[in-house]
Amino acid sequence: MNNRLANDRRAMPLPATIAEAIALEMERDPSILCIGEDIGRAGGVFGTTRGLLDRFGRDRVVDAPIAEMAFSGMAVGLAQAGMRPLVEIMFVDFIGVCLEQVYNAAAKIPYMSGGRQRMPIVFKTAGGCIGSAAQHSQCLWGLFAHLPGIKVVAPCNPHDHKGLMAEALRSDDPVVFIEHKDLLLRKGKDFRHHPEVPDEAYTVPMGKAAVVRPGTDVTLATLSLSVEHALEAAETVAAEGISVEVIDLRSIVPLDTDTVARSAASTGRLLVVDEDYLSFGLSAELTLRVIERLGLTGLRQVERLAVPDVPIPAALSLEKAVLPGPDKIAQRLRQMAGGR
């Protein structure tokens, strides 16, 4: 990449990179179409579909009414008719009104059909906390992961957003693609990790975690915005002599237990950080999978840090208290590595 381009990327908002990924795939494959609220004329409330309507027209970029039940089910029919729909559920919280079509239809039909019917649908949605209270702040990836038949992706940097979006659109399975609102408000230069993005189309595989910072004392596994927070915390405690290996899981289904177990086996300590709810979710699942892999005596310490089973409060003072932010992560890392 030449310098001018590299500079453009630094100034480029993340949503523009996502729109670029979708456009490249739509150009490649005429069966891809997008449906969602405000995705056409407005280009998406965050701008992740900006420019697509002009380029691909009204049949392939459908501004939908607030009728999620209808258009998520519509995606199932489109898929059965040979199309590859991308459905945008503006905020993941709204999945409540159409979860039926996602988990009873899209997720189950491939299996119920004995593998005869494929469901190439991407449910693209924004999650995470930016101070928007209980009904507009959830992550919910644990919920989708619990329901068999759906792949679940939550990238943390511009490079992976582009590559995983391409991978999701090429997948024959339903994929829930969860963007984080805080990341959607950033430009390339605001990312601590992997802001560089090739211009051409490429894919990043689902189910392959990335070691984004090597370390020797504690393994910290997380995803989405929390990777940024984890890197910040790791840097803070590095100054105090604690070496943290940070792993970006990238997807929850499939979950890359190998990479986490390999790291945890060498550090002996595992911390899972999750912006989703604590109980019955990613942190428990990943921890247990690692223990199953390494045995009950394979680790010296296991900890998890997640939202303590409470709806996200409106007041920022309360939101901060329930979120696993950089300070809390650093504090937990100190506790863990304290008895080194």
């Binding site: 009414p65 607030i66 039940m69 209270a133």
Partner: protein
């Protein structure tokens, strides 16, 4: 001349009460904008500026036992239902003194005392209002449930399903559709199979009424008709009030979907306060009296905001309270 009920100043003529309600609502949302500019309110605040006549017209027909379930754009409906303005403003500013102790925030005010609630999920107000309506049917009496939604919400499954059930059971449900012609960027005219929402009422065995939502007198009249219908046990009603949203969908909306001049034109032509003022003055009302009402409401709201800003933010130690009645079930 008819005398006003709650929210107007007692004993004042109904015209003054209507003007005062609208002035109070406007002052309330202007106070919210002020708080936003001071960085007190964060997140995607939805104000109702331009839509005052709808809630103000509704207010007159509401009784304490009636229920209102509103949407993300809920401030005016809360005031119309008699929710305490200070507690509401404090909640929007996320104070411990707020209606919901700062847990709910601007999109989620809940006030069991006045039977008022809201939701941030579009279309989700109608099913909850349906529940109130069914309860009212069982409990005797003639209370009515009002579910408020925008035009966008009228396309949801929840709206349709609620109207089906209310129609079949002749429940006292009034669906108030504030049709401001836009759902964020999507124009009603491009997305609706019918020219109006009100005309869908016949499919539900409901009464359908359409009203100019910038005309407070007209709204008051039509809404009273709707409430009479529902109170008398004649089944649900759809009231569609057409109006205009003067600001972005939320504060910070870049509004790429409509030109600035369009917004200016709407403000100039369809401001419900200006329109009402012109009518009253043409009928001989003194401009000074109306100015007095505006000034009183504005300064009252300024004082309220100043007070609220002195209130404490919630203590982080209480972040896990209120999930369950007994706080059981918390992770260890």
């Amino acid at each position: 001349m008819i005398r006003a009920n709650a929210e107007g100043n007692s004993g004042e003529p109904v015209t003054h009460a209507r003007f005062r309600r609208m002035a109070r609502m406007r002052a309330f949302d202007e106070a919210c904008l002020d708080a936003l500019r001071r960085g007190v309110i964060h997140g995607e605040l939805h104000v109702g500026l331009g839509q005052e006549a709808v809630a103000a017209g509704m207010a007159e027909s509401l009784r304490p036992e009636d229920a209102v379930v509103s949407s993300h754009r809920n401030h005016f409906h809360a005031l119309a239902k008699g929710v305490d303005a200070r507690a509401l403003l404090a909640e929007i500013c996320e104070r411990e003194t707020g209606l919901c102790r700062g847990r709910g925030g601007h999109m989620h005010p809940f006030d069991p005392a006045t039977n008022f609630s809201a939701t941030g999920i579009v279309g989700a107000s109608l099913p909850v209002a349906l529940g109130y309506a069914h309860a009212f049917g069982m409990q005797g009496g003639d209370a009515v449930a009002i579910g408020v939604t925008g035009d966008g919400g009228s396309h949801t499954g929840g709206f349709h399903e609620s109207m089906v059930m209310a129609g079949a059971r002749r429940l006292p449900l009034v669906a108030l559709v504030e049709n401001n012609a836009l759902a964020i960027s999507v124009p009603f005219s491009e997305i609706s199979p019918t020219a109006t929402v009100a005309e869908r009422s016949s499919a539900y065995g409901a009464l359908g009424l359409h009203v100019d939502g910038t005309d407070v007198d007209a709204v008051a009249r039509v809404f009273a008709q709707a409430m009479d219908h529902a109170r008398a046990g004649r089944g649900p009603v759809i009231v569609e009030a057409t109006c205009h949203r003067f600001r972005g969908h939320f504060e910070g909306d870049p509004e790429g979907y409509r030109p600035r001049e369009e917004r200016r034109r709407l403000r100039e032509q369809f401001d419900p306060l200006t329109l009402y003022r012109a009518r009253l003055e043409a009928a001989g009302e003194s401009p000074d009296v109306l100015d007095g009402i505006l000034a009183a409401e504005k300064s009252g709201m300024k004082t309220l905001l100043a007070e609220v800003l002195e209130d404490e933010m919630p203590d982080p130690a209480g972040a896990l309270d209120h999930v369950f009645t007994d706080n059981a079930g918390r992770p260890a």
